[in-house]
Symmetry: C2
Subunit: 331 residues, 2 copies
């Protein structure tokens, strides 16, 4: 399978998912308030990468699942993901997402809370119906775990001496749980045995970890035209992410207290992004963080090694490629 | 069964429910963030009437259900109810609930959003586990229906010529759906046949309707020491509820335009509560609204007439008494 074929296959799957989401919304539309439908359409179709549904479909197929209904199950993960973004953007008071006004800026906080709640219930109902008790349990635990992670983050904000371990805990809740739930539930739905389900959960956990580290790297190093976000946002908000945590740990005494003073001065932070970047760079914070992401991708792909059946070589290859794509993505 | 016995029986059931909720929280506590646990405890134990869980238990027993697990299912309804209150108080920008600061005032908007999301997922997971696919479907549809109703309400705010029919639609979403879902799912869980399930759903729909009309009456006529809310809040916020809708419809031309002018003057509204009350009274708005609530209670109790089995006479009686309690409650 050549690179272009891989990309084409991923693109085709994404389109299929996108179409199913559009069909779901069209089915809902006559039964819900027009304003709610408008908010959902705006919030759901804004150029998302649809990684979670893609994972559900691939993991199901890799375990031998077939049929078209898996796409409906897959979309539920995008709905829950969107619900958390609607609510997160209120909590973080964010102006834009992917270059467009956030749902709360565009339609108000009330609409963003309610539309999130709607998608939440809609997603749970779909997962319960299609993946049964076991799947619903994993899905709900991922959701409560994500919320718990957000509380940890609320408490961690302004803890400028956060350890690497605290960081991994936090990103596990923030990104890892839903991504690994997508893989696990996909595998369960596809009829995978315990060993296969747990291998794909492991793939998902590590992929989620790599995904978030790269996200945090892009915050400092990304091209804002591609990411749709300003550079250095996390630092400006006083959020400790891996590059800065590594630099803080490796810095000499003077640079360390300099970093701390930059962080403490809330008002000045937005003019100090360049300075902080060069300090992170001095202690190889970016490079070392990228290495960690690479290690997580290696572990993720390693977990796939138990899948030998050549009839599913295509799905295995796509999951590997997705992991490398996560590592090299620019948005 | 004498009045005192009825009250004692309701009180005993409520205590059992309250204890189960405390046990749930104690079980969760070691697995979640301490701040989240604090928010949940504050938001869940504030003197709620526990009507929804009570209905689940009674409807299940009336259909022949037994065993203690129904109390766990029942509590899920209180968790979802609390989740909607956490979010509603943000949307309505409310300072107090039952005489205490709302969750969003006490712990901030972020914590209130997240704790609501947590309870949401926790409730769905419990209902899915205990009541199966059919129950989860009803529960999720009640949730999405409630959100849809809130959107209708967002659009209706400032529509001062709302019809009685619009009002019934709105309160069905706001209160009726979850109350009727509690009755329906309780009946399903208890092994009720289709006719029993649909009778109890009908009981719940009408009980919910009566409950909300009385709530809206208490807003104008209640003793704020008992309700924990100020008098005339709905009018001050420009919300059209049944007493005012009736008065508006029955008022002569002059009084009608006077009412409209009182409503339009947002800043002055809080000094005009007494004036508006006497106008509502002039057109029997309060009396006629109370009659409507009484009719709904009659319909609710009528739906119970298919239950003849004398072994469940106690449960039937308690459901009837609850309906009369809803009508005469003062808080």
């Amino acid at each position: 399978m050549k690179k272009e074929q891989v990309l084409l296959a991923i693109k085709k799957e994404s389109e299929h998912i996108e179409n199913r989401m559009k069909a779901d919304l069209a089915e809902l539309q006559p039964t819900i308030d027009g304003f709610l439908a408008e908010v959902l359409e705006y919030g759901l179709f804004n150029g998302g990468k649809r990684i979670r549904p893609f994972l559900v479909v691939m993991c199901s197929k890799l375990c031998g699942g077939n049929g078209d209904l898996v796409y409906s199950l897959a979309c539920a993960f995008e709905y829950l993901h969107a619900a958390t973004l609607f609510h997160d953007d209120i909590i973080d008071d964010s102006d834009t997402r992917r270059g467009c006004p956030t749902v709360c800026r565009r339609f108000g906080v009330s609409a963003a809370i309610l539309a999130g709640d709607f998608l939440h219930a809609y997603a749970m109902s779909t997962v319960g119906r299609l993946s049964g008790d076991g799947g619903l349990k994993v899905f709900c635990e991922a959701t409560t775990g994500m919320v718990d992670g957000e509380f940890v983050q609320l408490r961690n904000s302004r803890n400028y001496t956060l350890s690497e371990l605290d960081y991994y805990d936090a990103i596990k809740g923030k990104t890892g749980l839903l991504i690994s739930a997508a893989c696990e539930i996909g595998a369960m739905y596809g009829g995978g045995n315990d060993r296969q389900v747990s291998a794909l959960r492991c793939y998902g956990e590590n992929l989620g970890c790599a995904f978030q580290i790269v996200d945090d790297l892009l915050d400092y190093q990304g091209d804002s035209k591609k990411t749709g976000k300003g550079v250095g946002n996390d630092f400006i908000e006083g959020k400790m992410t891996l590059p800065l945590i590594i630099a803080m740990k490796r810095a000499g005494k003077d640079d360390r207290s300099h970093l701390l003073s930059l962080l403490s001065d809330k008002k000045e932070r937005k003019d100090r992004v360049v300075e902080v970047c060069s300090l992170i760079d001095k202690y190889n914070g970016f490079e070392l963080a990228r290495l960690k992401a690479g290690e997580a991708v290696d572990t993720a792909c390693g977990a796939l090694s138990i899948f030998h059946d050549s009839s599913f070589a295509r799905e295995k290859r796509l999951l590997e490629e997705l992991a490398f794509f996560v590592l090299t993505r620019e948005r």
